[in-house]
């Protein structure tokens, strides 16, 4: 009962000093708004990258890349070697019992494809027949190639939407002969759009041909660039990844003091890499806005102190008519935190609005979460209480006779 009366009275006096309240609100608002923007942008970027990557690295997959993969910012830098052979991959698949399916591939970028005078720059991918299932490819027309076609180095191709559009326009591609770097291939299927890969590159400019055909007839190589294994369940991932490493080191005759000439990527490792790469967004920038918040808190504390000395008479009067020390203390805490809580709400709203144009500009999904809002509100009321504490103490210990004079 007494507390509700005091709450009402506290709110009233907090707002009766408009200019001071405005300054306090502004100082906290800026900090909270920047925190909102930064946390949401960080989360948005991370989620965007994670969701892109999740399509590639579902929980039961292990990817093996040839050479060492290093992270540079949010991008993986690859440095492929010529040592990863198809036989390595086949051996792994045969020896590890938890592997249920697998694919291996080779890639050549910027290859030319032609049909009937139409040309397209494509990325040429060689895959195993199992790639359709391993990569969740959606066949829109025709079919994927078979084991027999791969074994027999058949010149058959499955094309992605952009290639189809550039070479065939509206006409049907199935059964047509196209030229890839001058070599004739028969189109046997088309696949649905897949969007960008984890590096942000389009996958819709691909032509997929049997790996054997690619290695023996097109690029004349005997190694692959990457392989993907799918294991029985996610608990099998780590031990399978360890075994893959062992088998490859063994087969590549790598001494114990030498590093791997390949990279095994588990979903956990990918997550860790992304979190490390986005740390600047998710740790350092929020720290910067916490500094803003601390400055805001100092301003609030300062203005509240000023308010205490300005309002000696009011404090004395309140004490004379029966306010106890804790009542006065509570009043100043309520004043400070009601102002900062309001400022926090406004700051959050301002940040949420500001995010609209920013996310549009840098092409990141607009995400704003309840947890961010709750955090902002909690932070701003905490600031109020922390910043109001010393002024409130000072007001509370004033003697009524001293302050009434």
């Amino acid at each position: 009962m007494i507390t509700t009366r005091m709450l009402k009275s506290g709110f009233k006096t907090a707002w009766s000093h408009k200019l001071r309240a405005t300054f306090m609100i502004a100082s906290v608002m800026i900090g909270i708004a920047s925190l909102t923007v930064i946390i949401s942008l960080g989360k948005g970027t991370q989620e965007e990258v994670l969701s892109r990557v999740k399509k590639f690295f579902s929980a039961t997959t292990i990817n093996v890349m040839s050479g060492r993969v290093r992270m540079q910012g949010t991008h993986a830098k690859m440095d492929p070697t010529t040592t990863l052979k198809l036989s390595d991959i086949e051996d792994i698949a045969a020896r590890i019992k938890t592997i249920v399916s697998w694919d291996a591939g080779q890639v050549e970028l910027d290859k030319s494809a032609s049909f009937n005078g139409q040309n397209a720059i494509v990325s040429l991918h060689g895959h195993m027949p199992s790639a359709e299932a391993v990569w969740n490819l959606v066949i829109t027309e025709g079919r994927f190639f078979t084991k027999a076609e791969n074994d027999g180095t058949a010149r058959v191709a499955v094309i992605a939407p952009d290639v189809r559009k550039e070479l065939f326009g509206d006409s049907g591609p199935i059964g047509r002969q196209i030229g890839i770097e001058g070599v004739p291939f028969q189109v046997i299927g088309t696949i649905a759009p897949r969007g960008p890969d984890p590096h942000g590159m389009s996958q819709d400019d691909q032509i997929i041909i049997p790996l054997n055909t690619m290695l023996k007839r097109t690029v004349n190589l005997d190694y692959v660039i990457a392989a993907k294994f799918i294991v029985t369940d996610k608990h099998a991932v780590n031990s399978a990844a360890e075994q893959i490493t062992q088998i490859l080191r063994e087969r590549h005759r790598i001494n114990t003091d030498e590093g791997d000439d390949f990279t095994v990527i588990t979903p956990q490792a990918v997550n860790d890499m992304i979190r490390r790469a986005t740390r600047v967004f998710n740790l350092y920038l929020p720290m910067l806005s916490v500094v803003f918040l601390i400055i805001g808190a100092l301003i609030v504390a300062n203005l509240m102190l000023l308010s205490v000395s300005e309002r000696m008479k009011e404090i004395g009067l309140r004490k004379a008519v029966g306010a106890k020390s804790k009542d006065i203390q509570l009043q100043f805490l309520i004043e400070a935190s009601s102002i900062t809580l309001f400022a926090g709400s406004v700051g959050f709203a301002a940040g949420a609005l500001l995010l609209l144009p920013i996310t549009k500009m840098i092409d990141v999904p607009y995400t704003i979460s309840w947890s961010v809002m709750l955090f902002c509100l909690a932070a701003s009321s905490f600031i109020g209480i922390a910043a109001g504490f010393i002024p409130a103490r000072r007001a509370a210990v004033l003697q009524p006779v001293e302050s009434l004079r």
Partner: protein
């Protein structure tokens, strides 16, 4: 009701000798009396008022309010006692600026443990004849009206004692008389009034007059 025995109070200021504001003062005021404490400035009358009003505690001596010794109470117990038993009227009115008359009058109720408080402020304002001004702020009221609001505030919690420190000091003589009439009415309704003033004419409204000079008190016989 008020029993003060041998109360002394000294103030020590920086770089100045100790000042003995009250020197073995004894004073008894019964329920329903209208008493004035008269003295020139620096005589210790404000110190006496602070002690009677429980705003300050004596260095030595005893003060019993309604038979209860107060010199042992801590500051929160004193605050509660002030809230329940004493209404203050100050020379400077001490109204909260930009706050309506009604809200000013309600201030003691904010700190009261009463459960039902609706209507009390209006009632108190009606007693001083300012009911229709209850939504005015101090800035919109004359000095006399402001002091009436302050009296309503002193009355709102229905205390037994009204303690008024130079209540007419900032008012013209006409408003001053109005205010003193209100005190006289309150007293005739049974309330104990203690008036602190330097003005003998104002003191003449009271039934008893104490004179304080250099920290010692004597009752003026009539």
């Amino acid at each position: 009701m008020i029993e003060i025995n041998d109360v002394s109070k000294s103030y020590k200021r920086d770089h100045a000798p100790e000042v003995k504001a009250l020197d073995n003062v004894s004073l008894r005021i019964a329920k329903g009396e209208f008493a004035a404490v008269v003295g020139p400035s620096g005589s210790g009358k404000t110190t006496l008022m602070n002690i009677i009003g429980l705003l300050d505690v004596p260095d030595s001596g005893s003060y019993k309010l309604n038979g209860k010794e107060t010199s042992e109470l801590d500051i929160d117990e004193l605050a509660e006692l002030r809230n329940k038993q004493i209404g203050f009227v100050f020379q400077q009115f001490h109204l909260l600026p930009k706050t309506t008359a009604k809200e000013n009058v309600e201030l003691p109720l904010v700190y009261s443990d009463r459960t039902k408080i609706t209507g009390l402020a209006e009632e108190a304002l009606a007693m001083v004849g300012l009911r229709e001004r209850m939504s005015h702020t101090p800035e919109e009221l004359s000095g006399g009206q402001q002091q009436k609001v302050a009296i309503a505030r002193a009355l709102v919690n229905n205390p037994e004692i009204i303690l008024a420190d130079e209540p007419t000091g900032n008012l013209d003589s006409k408003s001053g008389e109005d205010i003193m009439e209100i005190f006289r009415d309150l007293n005739s309704n049974g309330r104990t009034i203690i008036l602190i003033t330097h003005d003998k004419k104002i003191a003449s409204y009271a039934n008893r007059t104490f004179v304080i000079v250099d920290g010692t008190i004597t009752e003026e016989k009539r």
